[in-house]
Symmetry: C2
Subunit: 338 residues, 2 copies
């Protein structure tokens, strides 16, 4: 088959790779209906995270089950499935507690920017849709594999409740879907921090009531202004830099929570400041698997349309352009069709 | 009156001071029935936190209202009252959210190791007992002013629920009362980290089911052993050093929370480690005022006896010995009688 391999920063190649095979009896092979480029792929693409060897890329996927191993019971060939970027058994104590991305047997998904994908722990990892979905639902279903589940987790971790004022730091796909999640959870006021007009527009479509373009001190001041000096009840940190984390913490009221889902790069938290702020923190790689059944239902019923974050659709073999467009911020998120 | 002033590290003086007077119309003057030395006073006593000028010491208090200002409505002379170490109005948005120690009008209480105390914002700060309490209840009521409320907040912040396994880092008065709090909240298993036999004994009296004497890697391993490799469901951090915070974070399962109430000294949190751990964090100066009505009831009904943490009782004029005994770990906590 053909698949995507990153050889070095900015060196994305679409090339011949071995067809995936069942290796473990819990595996499934999925023929991908769609895949995409993640904001977290850009850390490697840009050389901020090291690329030490040619790396198969992609961890977001949905498609048709082609084959399953001998231990797979609940997933069957022919089903349309979605899974998380971490395979998980869905039975260990961490999965039972809803933190599937800390599963005791977790395995990262690699190489999903391809035609086929081997998914370990298929029964625990994959969730099937009730029926074979219409093509127009596929972009939204694809987002459930990572970015929508991640935005949703940010809102859950920040304890968003009906009537709250929620701030969202970051206007990438995750931040925008954090806005959608907060809106869906009944937030009364949603402040999107964004400087980019097309992203502001989508944030408003997803439910943002206010846009803050300032950053740093001025950004905090703007949020304090909007909230009568109190701060946001809940804040979603969807970037992962030291600046964005400070922005999130300082924008939140005492007793409020920051849900942080941007993979931290160079983030150090001052214990004394955190203590005196009374702001709570919960984050990490989103346990997307926990939310799949609920979010699949919302998508299939047409209640949410997170697929709107894809503003560039390419054939899979043009994957390198998908990276470039996101790197240059010409695209929010690139969908790839095998 | 006579009161306690810290002039320099280890230089505690009990000396003549001005009698406190009503300054603001919201003030009350309280004749103290008992006061005590706090673990946080030791940071200054030991010179770890700087002493830049002679400082009136003490922030834990209970006693009889002697006089109130013209704006005070709910508190009356003759009542027995307890208040937090921060005065708070109990009406601002932060108080309404239960975070009184971040009150928009908060004022620190200073100089409570004395005969009399001026308490600002008396209506918001002080809570009266239903009746004048018996003398034997006074030590327990005094703990509600800080250490018991702080241990309770640690357990609330760590989201302790019935049936949970809870780890407590720190065997000072706050840690021990964290054990009592977790027990009262229905924790099934409470692991106290302590190397000191008398403190281990009190921890067991308060409900600890397991004692871990190891620290660092070995301490984490011991907690993982006790919890079948999973980690504690909730952890109470009651020290405030970099080591104790790492200990707490690493002892907690993914999705579990650390409630941190030890005032941080030199604590820096690595964002990437926090992210990958899936451990949540909430802490800060305990909003003791939130818990006063509930805890007063528990003490007055004889359901909890947190006053057991006082293992040294001195006349107030011997306050310097109270500091020395705690500094040398001869005493867990020193009660002072004016």
């Amino acid at each position: 088959m053909q698949g995507t391999v990153l050889y070095a920063p900015r060196d994305v190649r679409f090339e011949q790779r071995d067809d995936p095979k069942i290796i473990e009896p819990a595996d499934a092979i999925v023929r991908l209906s769609a895949t995409c480029v993640c904001g977290s792929d850009l850390w490697y693409y840009r050389g901020i995270s090291p690329v030490t060897q040619p790396s198969p890329m992609g961890h977001e996927y949905c498609g048709i089950v082609e084959e399953v191993g001998s231990d797979v019971g609940s997933i069957r060939p022919g089903q349309f499935v979605i899974g998380s970027f971490f395979a998980s058994d869905n039975t260990c104590p961490h999965c039972q507690a809803g933190f599937h991305s800390s599963c005791q047997h977790r395995e990262p998904i690699l190489g999903a920017q391809a035609e086929w994908l081997r998914v370990p722990l298929a029964d625990g990892t994959l969730v099937a849709t009730p029926d074979r979905p219409d093509d127009d639902l596929i972009p939204s279903l694809l987002t459930l594999s990572d970015v929508m589940g991640t935005g949703w987790f940010a809102a859950v971790a920040a304890r968003v409740q009906p009537g709250m004022t929620v701030a969202v730091v970051g206007d990438g796909a995750v931040g925008l879907l954090g806005v959608l999640s907060a809106s869906r959870m009944g937030a009364a006021r949603i402040i999107a921090m964004s400087r980019h007009e097309p992203r502001q527009k989508l944030a408003r479509e997803f439910g943002a009531t206010d846009i803050v373009t300032e950053r740093g001190e001025a950004g905090v001041a703007a949020i304090k202004d909007i909230t009568a000096g109190i701060g946001a009840d809940a804040t979603l940190e969807c970037v992962g830099t030291a600046e964005s984390m400070v922005q999130a913490l300082r924008s939140t009221r005492p007793g409020g929570f920051v849900g942080f889902v941007g993979v931290p790069h160079g983030v150090n938290l001052d214990g004394e400041k955190l203590f005196s702020s009374h702001v709570g923190l919960l984050g990490g790689p989103a346990p997307v698997r926990r939310f799949l059944p609920e979010l699949i239902e919302l998508v299939c019923n047409g209640e949410i349309n997170p697929g709107k974050v894809f503003d560039l659709t390419l054939p899979l073999h043009e994957v390198a352009e998908g990276y470039r467009a996101m790197d240059e911020r010409r695209a929010i998120k690139s969908l790839l069709h095998p």
